[in-house]
Symmetry: C2
């Protein structure tokens, strides 16, 4: 399971303020803690106006790279910001994201191909996010045809089938899982990621929903997620889910995490 | 989801002592709290020597029935104890359990049929508990042939595909889920139950494992479980699992449980 640490996101009020204030300590603290918690990548999203986004994103990258070697996930829909960001990184970054939207395919996909980056591919296009699984599958087929045509191997593509909140459609998690099952069968080398907490948007006691969804999505083929790596209960639930899914040989990871105090909050 | 409250079980030391001491308050407290927590049935297991088990089980039944109208699950492999118990109950009980073992089929199944009881059917026979899913399925076919021959409708049978601990076989949860998926496809009216906590026997931080397993098993078709209804985290996880599985219209059950304080321990 690969984890993209979600916390350095300028659309969150406190982080947005830290970016405007050039608050190095605040950002570096988030970077360090997420890296120590085992993130595979750290997402960096400046979340600012397009005109200043390239500068803000490069500042974020420089700030984060000063304290951690964990590679970055460059989170922007702005080709100019991505182009500037790719020049600033020390290690090959994950690009977050492309989709079936023509603007992303023409302006972002070439950057991904040129720099040999792994990339998140969203199940949406110019018509928006399809309600049903069949149309999402169709959109993903189109995006994967484009990544293949650009010479990007399937092993570098992280399909995000898009978890919409359960509060507006109780079938959301099932639609998500059906979509990745279908795509997994057709493209066995593609990875699957998700912005985990979207599933519970607008609902109370969100963490329980996120954990249950993570378990179902892992069973369906998820092998990566954008989430809060500092949420100890979520990481414990992830370890337990991998254990019951038969992916933890001799229960070693689980027992080691227990000995390291990961479950200290848990009732036994 | 139907819940069989597991706590009145004489094989647990404190409960066994209460049975020997005829400690009415201790047993009635367990009965009341489990009933209030929403148990569909209360399991009663005397857990004593065969010679005294009929008396002990009838005492348990009388004691429990004095404080709750929740029907009972008569948990015994002893035909004499079950026969005495069936005469003592106020409401039709669940019988826990039959299996493919010849002794249970010849001595317990007739009681089940005669009294029109729902019954738990274990995926084991005289050879023991099969390791693999295919052999468990074969055993369950045999048991269901016997229940049908005895005139018991499938709607009254609760198949327990037997969760063995992950600590000795990391594939246990997957074997369980595969088995109930296969049986569900062949017998759409049969119910599925499980002794939930067996999955985590011998491991630390068991509650996380139980919750992850419950989520997977619900997705596979589980609609009943023997568990601790007083475990608030487990019940919260159950509500969340039903929500993400699209079984909570308008999220009503989840939001109501939140308003009733069910998630007070949860991080949001």
């Amino acid at each position: 399971m690969q984890i993209i640490g979600e916390k350095i996101n300028g659309t969150r009020k406190r982080v947005g303020q830290a970016i405007l204030d050039r608050d190095v300590n605040y950002i570096q603290n988030l970077a360090r803690r997420q890296a120590e918690a085992g993130s595979t990548w750290l997402d960096v999203n400046a979340g600012t106006q397009p005109s200043r986004e390239p500068d803000d994103l490069v500042w974020l990258i420089d700030t984060v790279q000063a304290v951690t070697e964990t590679p970055l996930s460059l989170d922007s829909a702005n080709p100019a910001a991505l182009a500037a960001a790719i020049k600033a990184v020390n290690k090959t970054p994950l690009i977050n994201s492309i989709s079936g939207e023509s603007k992303r395919l023409t302006e972002v996909l070439p950057l991904v191909a040129e720099h040999g980056c792994p990339v998140i591919a969203l199940a949406m296009d110019d018509r928006g996010i399809p309600e049903d699984s069949a149309t999402r599958v169709e959109v993903i087929h189109k995006v994967l045809a484009a990544t293949r045509a650009a010479g990007i191997p399937d092993t570098r593509v992280y399909v995000d089938a898009l978890a919409m909140t359960i509060s507006t459609n109780t079938q959301s998690a099932l639609i998500f899982c059906d979509t990745i099952r279908t795509i997994h069968a057709a493209y066995p080398e593609v990875h699957f990621t998700v912005g985990l907490s979207n599933i519970s948007f607008g609902l109370p006691a969100r963490s329980y929903i996120n954990r249950a969804f993570l378990t179902l999505a892992l069973a369906a083929g998820l092998d990566c997620a954008i989430l809060d790596p500092l949420d100890q209960e979520l990481r414990a639930a992830l370890l337990a889910a991998e254990l019951v899914l038969g992916r933890d040989n001799y229960c070693l990871k689980y027992v080691r995490a227990y000995r390291a105090g990961m479950f200290d909050k848990a009732a036994n």
